[in-house]
Amino acid sequence: MPEARLCDDVLKVAFPAIRQNAPVCAKSSHFVVPKDLLPAITHYLHTQPNFRGRLTLLWACDHRPVRDTYGLYYLFTLEGSHHWVMLSTELIGNDRLFPSITPHIHAAHWYEREIRDMFGLIPQGHPDLRRLVRHEHWPKGMHPLRKDFPWDRVLGRQQGEHHFRHIEGEGVFIVPVGPIHAGIIESGHFRFSVAGEPIMQLELRHFWKHRGVEKLFEQQTLIDALPLAERVSGDTTVGHGLAYCQAVETLLHLEVPRRATYLRTLFLELERLSNHLGDIGAMCNDTAYALAHAHCGRMKERIMQLNDRLTGSRFLRGAIRVGGVTRDIDNGRLTEIVEELNRIQLDFSEVGAIIFANASLTDRLETTGILHERTAWDHAVMGVVGRASGMDCDLRRDRPFAAYDALPVNVALYRYGDVRARLRVRGDEIHESIRLIRELRGKIPDGPIANEPSRSPDPGDWTLSAVEGWRGEILYMVMAGEGGRIHRCKVRDPSFVNWPAIQWAVLGNIIPDFPLINKSFNLSYAGNDL
């Protein structure tokens, strides 16, 4: 791509001290940057009008025992070309300090705190160095992703208390909620400061469900770790499974048969459908509109039962494998799926007409929980939430994977950023998914459904893979270790990026609207906490 080469040249001219490396995956460039230059170059990438790089991923890696260094990697997506620019730097020997980029790129806030907790590396100049993943009762010096930390270590306990941000003044109340909530939802803590009705501040406290997923990956081989990837966030089984498989396939130089890529697309769209239907119902339910909830729950259940008939799992677990898919869905079956989805689409259109004609519902949804475009950009928000706030990004279109190169996607985009916009994005995407599956039915080629891996990866090889799950961009960085094992696997669910943004979306709203706003984001706690 000439455009991309141009970007590379501009960067090299602006910063002669950087060195270009071979790219690790398609549509990307990789630069090795001296540590002190990081703030300047990231700032340049982020703010230059012809780059406008969005911080997409930031991770660290302990290279021991091969080299006595820690690597830090910064991935930016350029607006417009959707090209990836990766910057990396190394901390050698006993060096534990790196310059924080949070002061000028807000999206790095949680990433840097996470690196500090997991590796014990300190982001100098970070405005908020409280613990994130490690709750205060973890003893000092526990950094699980360091290579000298045994995976099955017993942690022990110390005294400690988390200090929340404080607003003081007459009539200011603090309302703590969670970690255990009233409905059937996951565990997380929210702390509101209110004066009268409106919320003045919300602070999140997450990572209650931290299960050590990334450390567990390192105990497994590349081929065997798929079930773990499928259990990072259960509602995104296919999204995570697919992202993981794609990374492993790149490492193994394994080609996926064309038919399998179509079937993977089918599974991913089915997952999107069931979750979006459920979400629309749940959002209506949080405005006490039980009728819409019942209809949507019924339609969602039909898709879950369809999944079960197709693959033997309501969550499509085990449907995908490294190298392809586990079972074929013959063309007769595909026609049945399309017929069932046509019926559901008609059904959904009728329900949609009822929902959107309801004035009291519209009244609750409009102007509630607005996430402004600027805030969304600062937090690098994407996925459904981003598309409701004017962030025009969808990996299915921007960096096609599976069969999306042959199945162009119309991306839903709204600018208001309120709950209604998020509802509309989901509604549009339901129709679009069904259209995609119909088109897929016409285009799917015959052929094998899986290839067997034949070679093992070279230790130290690594790659990135990205999938547009139903929530948004799912990223996996997988680095191979000795004997086909995993040296490091960085998992990034879209929730990790979108969670902090909710703290801004609720400001000025009343607490009874919080469940509604939270539901309209519908982020995963499990995928965030890992």
């Binding site: 699980p144 209650w208 299960r211 019942a294 995963s524």
Partner: protein
């Protein structure tokens, strides 16, 4: 209004349109059944997530949709452990959730039942042994009923609850 009624008439009754579940995989011991008998026809459940992958929660949620409609059997979800007859726990118990689980258990009035839902809650599943996981639910609080599966289907959950409550799902 007319449109809403028309839609409801067109759809009709969907409750029960699912494949019947397998009979409970882990039999319920008589003492537990006796304890469950106290609650008669109303059974309030509090769900506690101690580190699940959220698929188990989704199946609990599905239980409340019109197809399974667990409410018809008097099963409902209590908003607080203080209002609950039973705790349903999902997920391996993480180090960060251990205290919260014990607190919720303490807050639940006696007599109470604890139901471990899903493989993770029963034996930690694939998270077993990890530094961030302190062990299955029964290591921290006594467990009365186990519903295996990853995740168990809603129909299977209903079957298990039915066996527990002597034929009343």
């Amino acid at each position: 209004m007319f449109r809403i009624i028309k839609k409801s008439l067109k759809i009709g009754v969907v409750t029960g349109q699912y494949q019947k579940g397998e009979p409970a995989a882990v039999p319920v011991v008589p003492e537990v059944k006796k304890k469950a008998g106290l609650f008669k026809r109303s059974f309030a459940i509090r769900e506690v997530d101690t580190g699940s992958c959220n698929a188990c929660e989704m199946e609990m949620n599905a239980l409340m949709n019109p197809v399974y409609d667990a409410e018809q059997f008097g099963i409902h979800i209590a908003a607080s452990p203080r209002h609950a007859d039973a705790l349903i726990v999902t997920g391996p118990v993480t180090v960060n959730m251990e205290r919260a689980l014990k607190d919720a258990h303490k807050q639940t009035p006696d007599p109470k039942l604890v139901i471990a839902l899903g493989d993770c809650a029963i034996h930690c599943g694939m998270f077993k042994g990890c530094y961030a996981v302190t062990g299955p639910v029964e290591r921290h609080i006594p467990v009365d009923v186990r519903i295996p599966g990853c995740p168990p289907r809603p129909a299977d959950i209903l079957e298990a609850l039915s066996e527990l409550r002597n034929g009343r799902p």
